[in-house]
Symmetry: C2
Subunit: 370 residues, 2 copies
């Protein structure tokens, strides 16, 4: 374990767990949802609003930060958290996922991945060594290894090749020096194949990482396959380390994963959907653009006590969206992150009380007349 | 005077005054700057951020609100302040200024002004009667009369014609029924001609309005002409009523006007300039987009204690602007409104202490090394 970083499981309810991650910059109660602060900002929000939503750790995207403002600017500013005035822990991804999303613009080899910056077209080579070095400069509390993430429709051979290269790179990266107190998480690939996932889990788990993530989920595969993999793999991940599923998901995805022993999540869904007018409410979603809300005096979610729902009416939010006032993007984002914050808070409470199963059933119930 | 509305001059320093406007929704210490909440939102800000900047009254634009969401939607929501969750007084303009800005799209007669909506092209007739009725529906605490505002380069004949039509409409509007407790301010035209301004002031002041505004300033005329008119007309406006100069201005414009006895201001400058990256700082301005701020650890204005300057560094703000993160628009707007809030607070204090002249001189001093 990295000095200054630790994890403890405090309660269990079936496979579901309540735990506590300790980092040099603060504690993270788990299960935890990490809002995405792509370019050193959770879009539309002040860091205090993020904190007040119930989030205790943020995710930053290495790909975006290495291009702008550049990792050395962040290092000289005291690291990512200090740069963005966030008073708490951060996790950075490796940059690989964004690079792979560029598709035709990149070229993969054992050495690393060559890509062209989306900002100015400049060619960049992201190697395992560089992924660690950039994150060391960013100074996040948790760094992710550079892995190879095949698309959801990749065939078994392609998945196997991605696994093997991920293992090769994982071994290299355990030997690279990181920032003081910076934990390093390994990533398990294997697509929707249980045997591959188990084999890769065993390999990655043997390398002594501070935590283990499942990558390559929610990348286009059917939901049933993702849920099957979560059920088969989650409980077999190391008990004494944080377990993180990258890039998921809906509130129901989170509950499904928590049931199978997952501790950490990140996803752009609550923030991105907010900017499209979509609010998560108990039992479903609503889109504030709809004309039926033009004179609706109710808050977004009458059961919610977030700063948006305590103060603003649907008719006002709908007006703001309709005329393009940016305040509404903030208010919907606050609400959605609060919804996720509440979900994880209630999950932790239910696990402590041994009632997680009921919470999961209750959350899925549709509510009429949204 | 309208029931529930009153004004008191509390202190004087030369022609400069400190006063208090009382409205049904709260008090306004004067001199007061009114942030512009065009479409029922001060762009980028939460109403609490507006309040915390030192603003006690907001301006809403009748033209925009009558088109979207429509004044009846606002009426049914409990009026403008309640609709936008602003806990304080509001002032609405008449809609005339925006309509005249449409230029070729409008047609003016004694009856009113015919225009095409910028939203859907629909033809609308804004009459003096309708301007009062719409503002009654909006339920602002202070309603402005519909006037005719000629451009800054209009000749004397055109200015005279605008004055005469404004007087005709003013008389009509004093007879139209307003919302309960809603004050009505008259508007003085006359361009940059002192004799016309004085004649029109006399006429408008005779109609018993709750307050008097100078319109048709900062519409393209030279600054010297505006300052000359402020010096000549300000002190001759009724002593016992609020005096409002519409649509100005820079911090130095405000100080100039306050010196000549003006009590109220509104302007998009602090909010609009913020969205272009420009921050008002003591002794000047800075544009956060500039590369020289890329690694500058100072706050926008080291002498400022606004929520932006207390927490965020120039290098972070510059990064946010550079990558297009909307948080920076909010933070710069907060800072700029705070700058205006501080300016009026310090003006009130200086007038009470009899040191307004020194404040005005000091504020204009350039500060090195912004």
């Amino acid at each position: 374990m990295t000095q200054g970083f630790s994890f403890e499981v405090l309660h269990r309810d079936g496979e579901a767990r309540v735990g506590r991650i300790t980092t040099p910059r603060g504690e993270v109660p788990t299960p935890a949802f990490m809002p995405v602060g792509t370019r050193a900002s959770v879009k539309a929000l002040h860091p205090d609003e993020v904190r007040d939503s119930g989030a205790s750790i943020l995710l930053g995207n290495t790909y975006h930060l290495m291009l702008r403002p550049g990792e050395e600017v962040v290092r000289r500013a005291g690291g990512l958290a200090r740069f963005m005035a966030w008073q708490g822990p951060t996790l950075t991804d490796s940059g690989g996922f964004q690079v792979f999303s560029l598709g035709a613009l990149r070229k993969l080899s054992d050495e690393g991945v060559l890509f062209a910056s989306h900002v100015d077209g400049k060619r960049e080579l992201l190697t395992p060594e560089r992924a660690v070095a950039i994150q060391a400069a960013l100074g996040s509390d948790i760094a992710m290894i550079l892995d190879v993430c095949p698309p959801g429709d990749a065939d078994r051979e392609a998945v196997l090749a991605a696994m093997e290269r991920t293992s090769l790179w994982a071994r290299i990266q355990t030997g690279c020096s990181r920032a003081l107190g910076q934990a390093q998480f390994g990533i398990v690939q294997g697509g929707i194949h249980e045997d591959l996932r188990l084999a890769h889990l065993e390999e990655i788990a043997s390398l002594g990482f501070d935590g283990i993530a499942l990558g390559g989920l929610s990348v286009g595969e059917p939901m049933e396959d993702m849920y099957r993999i979560l059920a088969a793999i989650g409980p077999k991940m190391p008990q004494n380390k944080p377990r993180y599923v990258m890039g998921i998901g809906t509130p129901l995805d989170l509950l499904e994963a928590i049931e199978h022993g997952i501790d950490m999540f990140d996803c752009v869904m609550p923030t991105r959907n907010a900017r499209n007018g979509q609010a998560f409410v108990r039992g479903g979603k609503l889109n504030i653009k709809q004309a039926k809300y033009a004179e609706d005096p109710r808050p977004l979610d009458p059961t919610c006590d977030c700063p948006c729902c305590r103060r603003f009416e649907r008719r006002y939010l709908r007006h703001l969206f309709n005329v393009g006032e940016m305040l509404v993007l903030r208010l919907l984002t606050v609400h959605n992150l609060h919804h996720y914050g509440e979900l994880t808070r209630m999950a932790r409470q239910a696990i402590i009380q041994g009632t997680f199963g009921q919470l999961k059933e209750k959350w899925a119930l549709p509510v009429e007349d949204v």
